[in-house]
Amino acid sequence: MEKILVGLKRVVDYNVRVQVKSDGSGVDTDGVKMSINPFDEIALEEALRIRESGAASEVIVVSIGSSDAQQQLRTGLAMGADRAILVESGTSVDSLTVARIFKALVDRENAELVILGKQAIDDDNSQTGQMLAAIWGRPQATFASEVVLDGDTARVTREVDSGLETIDIDLPAVITVDLRLNEPRYVKLPDIMKAKKKPLEQIALSDLSVEAAPEIKTTAYEPPAGRQRGIMVEDVAGLIAALKDKGLV
């Protein structure tokens, strides 16, 4: 296959404990560390391995968002992607519109495989890959923990609630990845230098003639109902007594 598209979303780093602003207008992202969504890094690693195996010739990383996302795309290029596309948008873009943007890029690039993270750790939606597959009219293999390509098909093992499900899909297709698919490579310094010379194309969202989807509005933010720290017991006897107290044993 020629081209694989990979999505890289810029999100608050997974180590940051995100907090709701005191006025409830959003979450506090001022000055916090931003990173590639961890699932997307795994998606990129998988695409790179497929290219390195000879089954694909080009890996294109795509981000949709503000120009700050160039940073994440550069990291993707340093990991080994061949080129990057930034679809610039001043405001956050909903899942269906993101899926439509990817569909427009799939058409433009003639991509045969799109690999995305199974969810983004900011909005935790887990939607984009499925939506892209729907509007593209192609297979989706979500929550992948193993991908084996075989000519025009792929055999994908998926992490589902009852165990591991294996499906066969025809290409072109969309795969969304789970954590255990692979371990992303570390970026080395010379790769960062090389990445600076790789092409990073910027497209305005308005230039893609993508129809905006009916919007779901977020009207309020609040902190979660916290759990209270309970009691500490000294030993097993104390634990059993406390459990008995609550009628749990």
Partner: protein, 313 residues
């Protein structure tokens, strides 16, 4: 008028408890009429179970050989074709529902709402973001259909005792052949299902090996509990992935959750926030798991767990 179609999750034999939880969520919308759709190769036994769930008006079965594995690419066009009679389509926020509902939404040209944790109105919902570190209120446009998944841990299954009529429907759409089921490997066990269990005993990285997890199994069996785990324990190969609890594993709400040798990373905690009682056993008194525990015990699991198992007699 609010007419909700709940998509049943099942394995052709039995209905998954997630379905009755979706019904409970749907029933908390004022004046909602609720139908359940059972898409299956043979729907009879699942439909009979679904018909017993209270507040269900009707069970609609769509039987088709291709439906046997519950693949999203095959079910989605059929559900989209049934949508015109409804104002809302609900599915569970399980692997099944998360795979399916966004595909349905996209076919209908609407966005999807994930993980409804409370109903604030027919088009207004609360849901968690950032691994549950923030709760947002979202509002779907009144003029388009609402497609959503229900955070099953936020709801108790609706009661049974109903006898809703069962009707079979034919949905005249073509389904694709580009996606084919091969197999499902399940860790066969006689232990309770993690989603449905009233008690869960969960082990983390501290167990150190697959063999040592035997300690967790023994305690679980004493309590009649399901097995849970942290991502670190799964990554290390001590237990299979379907036991993972957390942001990217299963979100559960048992009456009792016992976390053993688990530090309490936010990604893990988000999976147990709705548990009744959380017990933590950890040798580090500073471990974050204690901040959310109702009962904490500091010490070495390798002596505490056997002693506890023994004492429970």
């Amino acid at each position: 008028m609010t007419k909700i179609l709940v998509i049943a999750e099942h394995n052709e034999e039995a209905l998954n408890p997630s379905t009755a939880k979706c019904v409970a969520c749907a029933a908390s919308i004022d004046g909602a009429e609720i139908d359940i759709a059972v898409l299956a190769a043979s729907a009879a036994s699942v439909a009979a179970e679904a018909a017993q769930i209270s507040s269900v008006g009707r069970v609609v079965t769509v039987e088709r050989a291709e439906n046997d594995a519950g693949l999203a690419a095959i079910l989605a066009p059929q559900i989209a074709a049934m949508a015109s009679d409804y104002s809302h389509l609900f599915g569970p926020s399980t692997a099944f529902g998360k795979d399916l509902m966004p595909r349905v939404a996209a076919l209908l040209g609407v966005n999807q709402i994930s993980d409804i944790m409370s109903i604030e109105g027919s088009h207004r919902f609360k849901r968690p973001i950032y691994a549950g570190n923030a709760i947002v209120t979202v509002e779907a446009p009144a003029e388009s259909i609402v497609v959503a998944t229900v955070r099953t841990a936020s709801y108790q299954a609706a009661e049974s005792g109903n006898a809703a009529p069962i009707e079979s429907a034919t949905v005249d759409v073509e389904v694709p052949t580009h996606t084919r089921f091969v197999e499902l490997q399940t860790g066969k066990s006689d232990r309770p299902d993690l989603q449905a269990a009233a008690k869960v005993v969960s082990g983390g990285r501290a167990l150190g090996s697959e063999e040592n997890f035997e300690l967790i199994f023994k305690l679980a069996d004493k309590l009649g509990a399901a097995i849970g785990s942290s991502r670190a324990a799964v990554d290390a190969g001590y237990v299979p992935p379907e036991t993972q609890v957390g942001q990217t594993g299963q979100i559960i709400a048992p009456d009792l959750y016992i976390a053993i040798g688990i530090s309490g990373a936010i990604q893990h905690i988000t999976g147990i926030k709705d548990a009744g009682t959380i017990v933590a056993i950890n040798k580090d008194e500073e471990a974050p798991i204690f901040e959310v525990s109702d009962i904490g015990l500091v010490g070495d699991l390798f002596s505490i767990v056997p002693e506890l198992t023994e004492a429970l007699g």
